[in-house]
Amino acid sequence: MVAIFEKIILLCNIPNIKGGYLMKKLVAVCLLIFAVSCTKTYTRPSEEEVKPPKEIQEEVMKVEEEAPEEIAYARDEQIGERDLSPAEVAEVAKMVFSDIHFDYDKYNIRPDARPMLDQVASFMSENGDYNIVIEGHCDERGTNEYNLALGERRAKSTKNYLVSLGVSSPRISTVTFGEEKPLCTDTSETCWQSNRRAHFVVTGRR
């Protein structure tokens, strides 16, 4: 107990304490410590009995709750396309357009893409029941976010070119997949080139 008291005295003499008011608070606290210590029989002050750390138990519960099926997903509304009928699906299957390609970090339409874009445009003018989605893609190099924006630019410049050929703008929608859906995954210029593309998907007209 003497030792404890000495420590209390020590506490009260801490030089860093600012101001008499705080000092008074401290003294009061010291006295409280002393009072509390005295009311107990003399036992070695035991380790404080901390409540079971809630965070640990809760984490266990959380681990058990993490079945992905339980995620309540947000509802997504359907956007402006309809499902194709089986006959249409067969028709569309015959109409497969090759991808067009882009230079690294560029989104301008290259001359080698023009024949394919002409084909797409004439298909659209002859088949009024169909719409088209243009997907913009990138190679794996660079940041995902920047590549998403770049893929969007590629899709949009492709759309603009088709509109310039006379396809009505509302019939063409665009989406970017950035570097997320590569056709191949080798580390080579051939592979990267095939991934830097705009891809055409024919859909039903609403």
Binding site: L26, K62, E66, L148, A149
Partner: protein
Amino acid sequence: MKKKGSEVRGQGSGVAYATFIAYCIPYVLSILFLFSLVTTSHARIYIDISSPGARKLPVTIITTGPMQSKEIEWIVKSDLDATGVFEMVDPDIPGAEIIVTLDVDMSVGLKVVLSVRDLIENREVLKKRLDASTVIIRPMAHSIADDIYKVATGKDGVFRTKISYLKELASGKKELQYMDWDGFNSKKIISRGLTTSHNWGQDGRYLFYSSERKRQWKIYVLDLDNFTESLLFSSKGLNIVGGTSPDGLISFSSSKDGSSEIYTVNKYGKNLKKLTRAFGIDVSPVFSPDGKTIAFVSDRGGTPQIYVMTSQGKNMRRVTYEGSYNTSPAWSPDGEGIAYTGRSNGKFQIFVVQSDGTDLRQLTFSGNNESPSFSPDGTFLVFDSDRDGKRGIYVMRSNGEAQKKITSNRVKAMTPEWSPYLKK
């Protein structure tokens, strides 16, 4: 984690006493605190982690208990060792200044009595009992490491924080997951649609992410307390989430008006503010820790570079000038530095620069390294790298030391985001 911090103070760690000296204590004190004040006499900060090149603190850890207690010891050591401010000393070898004893009892659940003793002054500076109803080794060990770290440095450890990231399931299919800071204990969060960018709300309860579903890129928010997802923002075009501010704003890029620009909304997805107007690509906006500044990527100068502006879109200023491709900015928690991905000699590397553009440092040199994110105390950076052939998540100290892969070589993982301190 905040709650935990106050608990630790209440339990009268040595650090609590330092706080005591610094701020003086409020009137209301629990009896427990009084007792612990008696048991833990005056404390000091053993290592000043803010002074660079400070010496390491030699620590010995002694564990008693059943076999699995060795695993706890191993995890604690590995946590402390990673910070670079401790030197682990074998119990048989003299020289330790701090001795940690872990008495592990696994007869019912998992109980650990943690004691930290200052060998120089020969007194106990922390004694704490940790209880868990079931045997959960890892959270227990990380919790103990946090306690020891706090006693030694006066700062909160990050050993119980999480890292969210994307795991590739198949080509073109990624799943949002999170894991412990050391790569263990990974959990699936979102597998629906194609999820890419993601970031944590400031309190660690909410995860914001961009997901492509039915060819629409929208921003969603997941409440991790009940695993309920809500739609935060949707529009025509591409919407990619960036970061969050202390007062609950979310920054993102959207091409709703044609070109990709920077916007903010509040946590309800309302009060939309457009901050940039430029032809070209503006993406990846992230708030500074005080919420007053936004760093983002723009190609308005011809190549993608890091820019900063106020959170109102004013006083735009370019930060990076080296190289022709600088993206994915991340603020250091002190608000002074920005880590980012930059292309150098055809490869992507992690760089850190002061937000005024000075003091540029390259932190990685091998393979392609991308997507840096700071731990909430600024001690570590997490990033992804393909240096060993398969892209995975790596952690390093924020000065570039001790780079270590934390995901398994069996999985392809990328785009990590370090959580804030978690409340639980």
